[in-house]
C-alpha cells in the first residue's frame, strides 16, 4: 500500500532554553560559547551538600508560556527528580517536573494550506539542561571530556499530543512555536546553538483505524530540516514494514544525518526507569494568582493570533497578514499607521490594504537598503498615514508618492509639506486641466480620430499622454473625466 493508505500520527517534544542570564538553580551565567567549564559552581557541578535554589525569572518565563498556550496551571506544583546515570549529568539526576508539570492541556494553533488547526499540548514543564560530552578527534582516544557550562541551564519542555498528521503540520507547528517563543521573549530559539531542540514520535495506522500503531521515538534532530527528513524517512520505513506485514516495535531511534536514515537506539524493554520522586530539596511552589494576572496583563497577542486578527479586522489577504505579523515591530507600525489614517480615509478596508502595500513594499525595501530597524525609521507611522492620505484624497499620485518617500526619509519632513514646497501636489483644477487636455488632443489627432470612430482602446494612451504632460501631478480621475467629456463631444 502507498503511504497515503495510512493515517500518520506525530507528536513533538520541544526543549527550549529560557532567556535568563543565570542558570535554573544557581547564579552561574548561561552565555553560549564560553570556555569549557568556566561557567560552573559547586551547585551546577553537583558537589556534596549543595542545594538548588529556583531561578524566579525562569519560573515566570515558563509560566508565561503556559499562559500563552492556554494551559491549565496547577495551584501548587513541585519539582521532581529524574534519576539516570550519564557523565554529562553531574548529580546523576535531573531536576524536572513529572507529577505536577506547570502547564497541562493547552494548545498551539497552527495554519497550513488546509486551514487552521489546534495542536494539543500534553504538558509544559521546567527542568535543567545537562552538560556536553566532548569526544576527542581521531581514533585511539580512550577518554571523553565533559563541559558543564550548559549543565543547569533552564530548559522548557513542551510536549504535544499526537495531533499532527502530516509534515506540513509539523513544519507549521515548529515555525509557530519558534515565532511565539521568540515574540514573547521566552527563548531565543537558536537551533544552531541548541537553544531549541526537538524530538519526535511517529506511528502509522490503516486509514480510519481506531487503534494507534506502535510509536517510534526519534532523537538527534538538530534542525527543522532534520526533523522533517527524519520523519519522512520514518514514515516510509514504517509504511514499508506494515505493507510487508511486519510488526513495528515500540522503540527509540536516532537520526543519522550523514546516512539520512534512522537507526535503532533502544527498544521499549531497554527503556530506562527514571524513578521519579518529588525533589525534597525544593518545597512546593504555590502559584499566586497575582503572578498569573501579571503575566496575562503583560502578555501580547501571539503572532498567529495577530495574523488572523489582521485578516478579520482589516480584511487583509492571508499573505499580507503573514508578512506584516512576521515581526512584532512591523505589525505595530502597520497598526499605528492605519489608526492615524482613519480620520482622513473613509473606507477602512481600502486604507488598510493601501497601508499594507506600502509597508510590505517601499517601507520594508527602504529598511532593508538602509539597514535600519523599523523602530528607528524616520518615517513614523503617522507620517506614512499622512502620505497615504494625500494619495487617497487625490492630492498626489502614486508615482509622486514613490518619489516622496525617500525625501521624507532624508529630510524627516511630512509628505504634505514636501509636496507643497516642491510643487508635487496634484492638479485637480478643472480649468487648468481642460486647457492641458485641449493641448493633448490637438497634439494627437490620429488617436482622437480613432477613438471617435469606435476604437475606445486608445483612451488609455491619451490619458498617459495627459499625465506625462502634467508630469504626473494631474489627478488621473479628473483627467479621465474631462478627456471623456471632450472626446464624446
Amino acid at each position: 500500500m502507498p503511504v497515503t493508505d495510512y493515517d500518520i500520527v506525530i507528536g513533538l517534544e520541544a526543549h527550549a532554553h529560557l532567556l535568563t542570564r543565570t542558570k535554573m538553580f544557581c547564579s552561574c551565567r548561561t552565555t553560549f560559547g564560553a570556555e569549557a567549564n568556566s561557567q560552573t559552581c559547586p551547585v551546577c557541578i553537583g558537589m556534596p551538600g549543595v542545594l538548588p535554589v529556583i531561578n524566579r525569572k525562569a519560573l515566570m518565563l515558563a509560566l508565561r508560556s503556559a499562559v500563552a498556550f492556554k494551559c491549565e496551571i496547577p495551584a501548587t506544583m513541585r519539582f521532581d527528580r529524574k534519576n539516570y546515570y550519564y557523565p554529562d549529568l553531574p548529580k546523576n539526576y535531573q531536576i524536572s517536573q513529572n507529577y505536577t508539570p506547570l502547564g497541562v492541556k493547552g494548545f498551539v494553533e497552527i495554519e497550513t494550506s488546509k486551514g487552521r488547526k489546534k495542536i494539543g499540548l500534553d504538558n509544559i514543564h521546567l527542568e535543567e539542561d545537562a552538560g556536553k560530552l566532548l569526544h576527542p578527534e581521531g581514533s585511539g582516544a580512550v577518554y571523553s571530556q565533559v563541559d558543564l557550562n550548559r549543565a543547569g541551564t533552564p530548559l522548557l519542555e513542551i510536549v504535544t499530543r499526537p495531533d499532527m498528521s502530516d509534515l506540513d503540520e509539523v513544519e507549521a507547528y515548529m515555525e509557530t512555536l519558534r515565532r511565539t517563543l521568540e515574540a514573547l521573549e521566552i527563548s531565543d530559539c537558536k537551533m544552531q546553538e541548541g537553544s531549541l531542540r526537538f524530538e519526535a514520535s511517529v506511528s502509522l495506522k490503516p486509514l480510519g483505524a481506531a487503534e494507534l500503531g506502535n510509536r517510534v521515538e526519534v532523537k538527534n534532530l538538530n534542525s527543522v530540516r532534520a526533523v522533517l527528513n527524519a520523519l519522512a524517512y520514518e514514515i516510509d520505513r514504517q509504511a514499508a514494514a506494515l505493507d510487508a506485514r511486519e510488526r513495528i516495535d515500540r522503540e527509540t531511534r536516532l537520526w543519522n544525518e550523514e546516512l539520512s536514515r534512522t537507526e535503532r537506539m533502544r527498544s521499549k524493554e531497554e527503556a530506562q526507569d527514571y524513578r521519579y520522586f518529588p525533589e525534597p530539596d525544593l518545597g512546593p511552589i504555590v502559584v499566586l494568582d497575582e503572578w498569573l494576572q501579571e503575566i496575562s496583563a503583560s502578555l501580547q497577542e501571539l503572532p498567529n493570533e495577530r495574523k488572523w486578527r489582521f485578516e478579520d479586522e482589516y480584511a487583509l489577504p492571508s499573505y499580507d497578514a503573514g508578512v506584516l505579523t512576521q515581526k512584532r515591530a512591523i505589525a505595530d507600525y502597520f497598526e499605528a499607521a492605519v489608526a492615524a489614517g482613519r480620520a482622513e480615509v473613509s473606507d477602512p478596508a481600502r486604507l488598510a490594504k493601501v497601508v499594507s502595500n506600502w509597508v510590505m513594499g517601499q517601507v520594508l525595501k527602504e529598511l532593508n537598503d538602509r539597514k535600519v530597524e523599523i523602530t528607528d525609521f524616520p518615517v513614523t507611522p503617522e507620517r506614512l498615514a499622512g502620505l497615504v492620505t494625500l494619495i487617497e484624497s487625490g492630492k498626489i499620485s502614486n508615482t509622486i508618492a514613490q518619489q516622496l518617500l525617500p525625501i521624507m526619509i532624508e529630510t524627516g519632513e511630512d509628505a504634505g509639506r514636501i509636496a507643497e514646497q516642491r510643487g508635487m501636489l496634484q492638479v485637480s483644477d478643472t480649468a487648468e486641466i481642460e486647457k492641458l487636455m485641449d493641448e493633448v488632443l490637438a497634439a494627437n489627432p490620429k488617436p482622437v480620430a480613432d477613438y471617435r470612430s469606435g476604437k475606445k482602446a486608445v483612451f488609455g494612451f491619451l490619458v498617459g499622454q495627459a499625465m506625462r504632460q502634467t508630469k504626473g501631478k494631474a489627478n488621473p480621475q479628473v483627467v479621465a473625466e474631462i478627456l471623456t467629456k471632450k472626446l464624446e463631444n
Binding site: 559547586p42 551538600g49 535554589v53 534519576n83 526507569d273 524513578r275 520522586f277 530539596d281
Partner: protein
C-alpha cells in the same frame, strides 16, 4: 579554672575578658585530643595548624578591640558530614577520602562568625547511615564510658568528643536519631531542631527531607547557645524556615504548670527495664518540679521504622548517585568503559550498609513498586505527623526514652541490620514529623552506662523543649564525663 570542667559559656566569657586566650584553649583541647583520642577515635581529621589559626584569628579580633561572638574561643568538633572549605570532608566514606570542598557549609560559616574554634572533623557512620559509628570506613569510635561499647551513631564521634571532653560543643546531623541516640548513649546533651531551623547548605545529603543539623554539649545552656548561633533562614537552602530565631538561652526558666505528654507506645516491648526505670524516675522528678504528666497516644508509632526506611533509602539512592568517580572523589581506575567505571568505583567506594540502602531505595522508587512503597510511605508519614499534632493539642512537650537500650558492645549488631535499625525506634518519628527533639542524661544503668531522656516539641518550639530539658538537668545534675578515662 580547669578547662575540663568549664562550659562553653564559661570559655567564651573568659576568652572575651582576656582571662585566657583562644590559643591557650585550643592548645589545651588539641593536647587532650592527642592524649585521649587514640583510645576513642572520635576524630577523622585533626589539623593543629587549622585550629590554631582559627584561635589566633579570635585573639587578633579581641586585640583589635572588636567585640567577640557568643562562642568566642569555644572548641567545636564538626561531624565530618559538614563541608569545610579546603579541609577534608569524607562523610566517613572511602569514596570521599581525599575530598576537600571548595566551599563551607552555612552552619560552619555561622560558627566561625560566632568566633568558634574547630578542633577537628568527627567520626561518623558512612554517609550518616548507622546507629553505632561502626559503619565508618575509617574504623569505629569507642564509647568513652566503656571503650568496648559503641557510642551510638551516626554522629558517634561528635557525641564521644563531648563525653571525653575533647571539645565543649560538637555539631552533628540527625536523620532518624543520629544526634539524640549517640547523645543518650554517651551521656551528653544532643538536640535535633525543627526541620528547616538550621540550613542544610553544605551538609552532605543523606535523606534531604529528614536531615537536620544540631548541637551537642555537656549541658543544656551550651546547647541552647549553639543552637541560637546556627539557626535561621538561609537563601541557599530553600527548605530553611523563614522565621525569627529565639534567644534559646534566655528561655531556660522553670517548668511549673507545663503539661508533659508521655506516649504509651514508647513503653512497649523491646524497652530495656533499666532504661524504663530511669525514664520513669525522670518523670517523677519533673512532676516534683511542678509539671503535669499526662498520658498521650501516638497510634502510628509502630509504622515509623518501616516508613522511615522507605523515605530515607529512596532519597539516599538518589542523593548518593553523584558519587560515581567521574567528577570528584574516589575513582576506580583501569575500567574499560563508563558503566564499569561507575560500578567498580561504587563497589569499592561504598561500604555494605550504604550499598544496602541504595539498593532498597532504588527498589522502592522503581516503576511498579513506587505506589506500594514510596507513595504509601508518604501517606503514613502524614499520619505520624498528625499523631503529634493531635497530641500537642493537649500537652506542651512529649517525653520518653531516647533509646530502647543503653550502649551495646562493638560488633554485637553488625551482622543484624534490622536490630540496628530498631535502635532508632523512639527517635525516627520526630524526623518524619519534622519536630524538634532533645536527649538529656537521665542517669545510668547498673553497669554504669548512660541513659537518655528525650523531649519532643512542637514545630519551631525549641524554646519549650530546651526549657524543660534545662529544668530537669538542674534538678538532677548527672555527671557527663566518665571519671577514669
Amino acid at each position: 579554672m580547669d578547662l575540663l570542667c568549664a562550659t562553653a559559656v564559661d570559655v567564651s566569657r573568659m576568652v572575651a575578658s582576656g582571662e585566657i586566650s583562644a590559643r591557650e584553649v585550643a592548645r589545651f583541647f588539641l593536647d587532650r585530643i592527642q592524649t585521649i583520642d587514640p583510645k576513642i577515635h572520635a576524630f577523622l581529621h585533626v589539623d593543629p595548624d587549622w585550629t590554631l589559626s582559627l584561635a589566633d584569628a579570635v585573639d587578633a579580633k579581641r586585640a583589635a578591640g572588636k567585640p567577640l561572638g557568643p562562642l568566642a574561643g569555644v572548641p567545636v568538633a564538626l561531624k565530618d558530614i559538614l563541608c569545610t572549605k579546603g579541609i577534608p570532608t569524607t562523610c566517613g566514606s572511602k569514596i570521599l577520602e581525599n575530598f576537600r570542598p571548595p566551599y563551607a557549609s552555612t552552619c560552619v560559616e555561622k560558627l566561625l562568625a560566632a568566633d568558634a574554634v574547630f578542633v577537628g572533623k568527627a567520626n561518623m557512620d558512612e554517609f550518616a547511615m548507622g546507629s553505632s559509628t561502626e559503619n565508618s570506613a575509617f574504623g569505629p569510635t569507642a564509647n568513652p564510658w566503656d571503650t568496648s561499647r559503641i557510642p551510638g551513631g551516626s554522629s558517634g564521634g561528635s557525641a564521644a568528643s563531648i563525653a571525653a571532653r575533647m571539645a565543649l560543643v560538637a555539631i552533628g546531623s540527625d536523620t532518624g536519631g543520629s544526634i539524640r541516640q549517640p547523645a543518650a548513649l554517651c551521656g551528653v546533651v544532643g538536640m535535633k531542631p525543627t526541620y528547616g531551623r538550621v540550613s542544610r547548605y553544605g551538609l552532605v545529603a543523606f535523606a534531604s527531607s529528614l536531615d537536620q543539623i544540631g548541637p551537642f554539649a555537656a549541658n543544656v545552656r551550651d546547647t541552647a547557645r549553639t543552637l541560637s548561633v546556627i539557626s535561621g533562614r538561609d537563601e541557599r537552602d530553600s527548605t530553611s524556615i523563614d522565621a525569627g530565631v529565639d534567644d534559646y538561652e534566655a528561655a531556660l526558666t522553670d517548668v511549673k504548670g507545663l503539661r508533659i505528654g508521655v506516649p504509651k507506645e514508647y513503653f512497649a516491648e523491646g524497652l530495656d527495664s533499666e532504661v524504663e526505670s530511669r525514664v520513669r524516675e525522670a518523670l517523677d522528678v519533673l512532676k516534683g518540679l511542678g509539671a503535669e504528666i499526662v498520658e498521650v497516644t501516638l497510634p502510628h508509632t509502630s509504622y515509623a521504622v518501616a516508613t522511615y526506611y522507605i523515605v530515607c533509602t529512596a532519597e539516599a539512592s538518589s542523593n548518593l548517585a553523584r558519587y560515581d568517580g567521574v567528577h570528584y572523589g574516589y575513582r576506580k581506575t583501569g575500567t574499560p568503559d563508563i558503566i564499569e567505571l561507575y560500578s567498580k568505583t561504587r563497589e569499592a567506594g561504598f561500604g555494605p550498609e550504604v550499598k544496602r540502602r541504595i539498593m532498597l531505595g532504588t527498589f522502592v522508587l522503581s516503576s511498579g513498586f513506587y505506589d506500594a512503597y514510596y507513595t504509601k510511605g508518604l501517606k503514613v508519614r502524614r499520619l505520624i505527623k498528625q499523631d503529634f499534632d493531635d497530641a500537642f493539642k493537649s500537652v506542651d512537650v512529649i517525653a520518653g526514652p531516647t533509646t530502647p537500650t543503653a550502649a551495646f558492645r562493638m560488633g554485637e549488631k553488625v551482622e543484624d541490620p534490622l536490630s540496628m535499625y530498631l535502635c532508632d525506634i523512639f527517635t525516627i518519628s520526630t524526623n518524619l514529623a519534622g519536630i524538634p527533639g532533645i536527649s538529656v542524661p537521665c542517669g545510668f544503668t547498673s553497669g554504669g552506662l548512660p541513659v537518655g531522656l528525650q523531649f519532643m516539641g512542637k514545630v519551631l518550639d525549641e524554646k519549650t523543649v530546651l526549657k524543660v530539658a534545662a529544668a530537669y538537668e538542674q534538678a538532677t545534675n548527672f555527671p557527663t564525663m566518665p571519671e577514669n578515662l
